[in-house]
Symmetry: C2
Subunit: 335 residues, 2 copies
């Protein structure tokens, strides 16, 4: 089933959405909010699934679903932990800063604790604060877990994945080096992230959901021009089971925990960074990777970071070209 939170109050109003994203029904009878549904998932999810069937069969009253009416599926969450499963991305970003990655990055997931108190909806503006901050997009896949015990194994962890979404993990590149050098990880360099209109259960993906990975291309564009269409199922060194197990090594995870894949990133056949979309490659899911490739090739980056007026779009379509999660489509706006 596909769920969305319509903008309303702090936590939105939970709605069940038709597979083709045209119609929806409020789920207030089952759960007023998505967090409430996750808190009581065993009871709520079969009832939500029954409503989803009615929406699909048009045997219940529905209203026109509009992505622009949506908040993030969880407008605020109790946990947002973002991994770096596409180690290729980490290697490239570090290379752009003149740093190498330790070998352990390929065997143990890297993960940071993100701010989760105030997410952006899929059409909310991205605030532009300062040219020097280097505003960038990061296109990622994320999962929402149910209650997950401490010490869960990667295999057991898969059963705790309840929903899947897309995220724009907005990053201020200009603030990253100093924050990481100070040793306490990202904070000011990671302002509010934005999420796709839809959170979908893994069974919506059919064969594309395998091994706790989503094997479809992630479409990222800026001002209508494709930046990336990397295959999310390729070069994902750690699957979502492994990422959840990493997060739960020393503490349990509460229902509604969001675990991110990190920026989706594919290597070229020769193991290098791959070509931009304009040159026939799959491109990149963030600007800094494209800048890195430009630097390696031409000695300097050519693609600018985001400026006021720019529009970022992140989407995933199925093999029939139908949007799965709806689109994250955000305009950059000066405050």
């Amino acid at each position: 089933m596909k769920l969305a939170s319509l903008k309303s109050d702090r936590d939105g109003r939970l709605a069940v959405v038709s597979r083709d994203l045209t119609r929806a029904a409020l789920a207030a009878e089952m759960a007023p909010t998505l967090q409430a549904a996750l808190d009581d998932w065993e009871n709520a999810s079969p009832r939500l699934a029954a409503l989803a069937e009615q929406v699909e069969a048009e045997t219940t009253t529905t209203f026109r679903f509009r992505e622009r009416d949506c908040a993030a599926p969880l407008p605020r969450a109790f946990q947002w932990a973002d991994g770096s499963a596409y180690v290729n991305h980490v290697a490239l970003v570090r290379k752009a800063r003149g740093a190498e990655i330790p070998g352990s990055f390929w065997t143990q997931p890297l993960m940071y604790q993100g701010g989760s108190d105030a997410f952006l909806g899929p059409r909310d503006a991205i605030p532009f604060l300062d040219e020097s901050f280097g505003l960038d997009v990061e296109g990622e896949i994320v999962v929402i877990t149910g209650d997950t015990p401490m010490g869960v194994s990667p295999e057991e962890a898969r059963a705790h994945i309840k929903l899947v979404m897309l995220v724009n993990d907005v990053t201020l590149r200009g603030l990253v080096p100093d924050e990481l050098a100070r040793g306490f990880g990202f904070f000011q360099s990671k302002p509010s992230s934005a999420f796709s209109p839809i959170a979908a259960t893994p069974d919506e993906f059919g064969a594309a959901w395998q091994g706790a990975k989503l094997s479809l291309p992630l479409l990222v564009s800026i001002n209508g021009a494709p930046l990336g269409r990397a295959e999310a199922g390729v070069d994902m060194t750690f699957d979502f089971g492994q990422l959840i197990a990493h997060a739960a090594r020393t503490r349990r995870l509460s229902a509604g925990t969001i675990i991110g894949s990190g920026t989706v990133s594919n290597r070229a056949a020769d193991g290098g960074p791959g070509l931009p979309v304009s040159k026939g490659g799959v491109g990149y899911s963030c600007i800094v990777e494209q800048r890195m490739v430009e630097t390696l090739r031409d000695g300097a980056p050519a693609t600018p970071y985001l400026r006021p007026g720019d529009v970022v779009r992140i989407e995933m379509v199925d093999r029939s070209r139908r949007s799965i999660f709806g689109a994250i489509e955000q305009r950059v706006e000066a405050l």
Copy 2:
């Protein structure tokens, strides 16, 4: 006023507690949970304050308040961001690892994003996982904010402080060096934190709350022996207004955000680390500082990290020796 959350469901039941911590009344009429009260603080807080007056005057029905019935005031929160305002502590901990701190640490707060989805109550056991993890306590002061706009100044930020608590920011010292070396900050090295039974409004502290600092000693003991009684108002390089402003530089903070002071730590008169309580000093609010001092003095640490059966107690008393927040008193238990 003093507020507590009685253990019940995921978010507890909000209660107003008498100043002497002996009696309480449920606040269900005003707000079912502390998060609900914070979400609507302008309306809820005067009504809660009126109930607090009734509890104090014994003009409403009350029940016996027991600290052991309490969850953390926010059993789960949307944000937990912990600063390092006592730069002395950071300098000592780094010294113990053979590292120096950069000068910017004295002019710009250091802050990490903590996990907030599953806090421990004041009497909940601390899970003991592995001897090599180096289980340590960190005694700190924390504040809970209301909605706070992005870009708030340190002075304006003070008005957004709604409540004050104590925290045991449990730390796994053995996991810290590797996590910080990987550059993404703490994650597995920071399991669930525990909070004091009471969250109190700043007006409860009288003259002890000045300049967005709480000027009282923080009492930390292990197995009944005092580890520290450092003055929380002394050597706090950044006050809570500055810490909040740091957190809100690139994004707004939602109501219920918890901002921590970092481990309370005083320097000796000569600028050095100070003496243990047993030698007439104010001691330390975490074991690693005492171990550092032992190493500097004797060449090796003598105080062990926490083991199963150990009991940690963190408390703050007013100038009349009355407990302000109740006590965090946790037993370490092997799983």
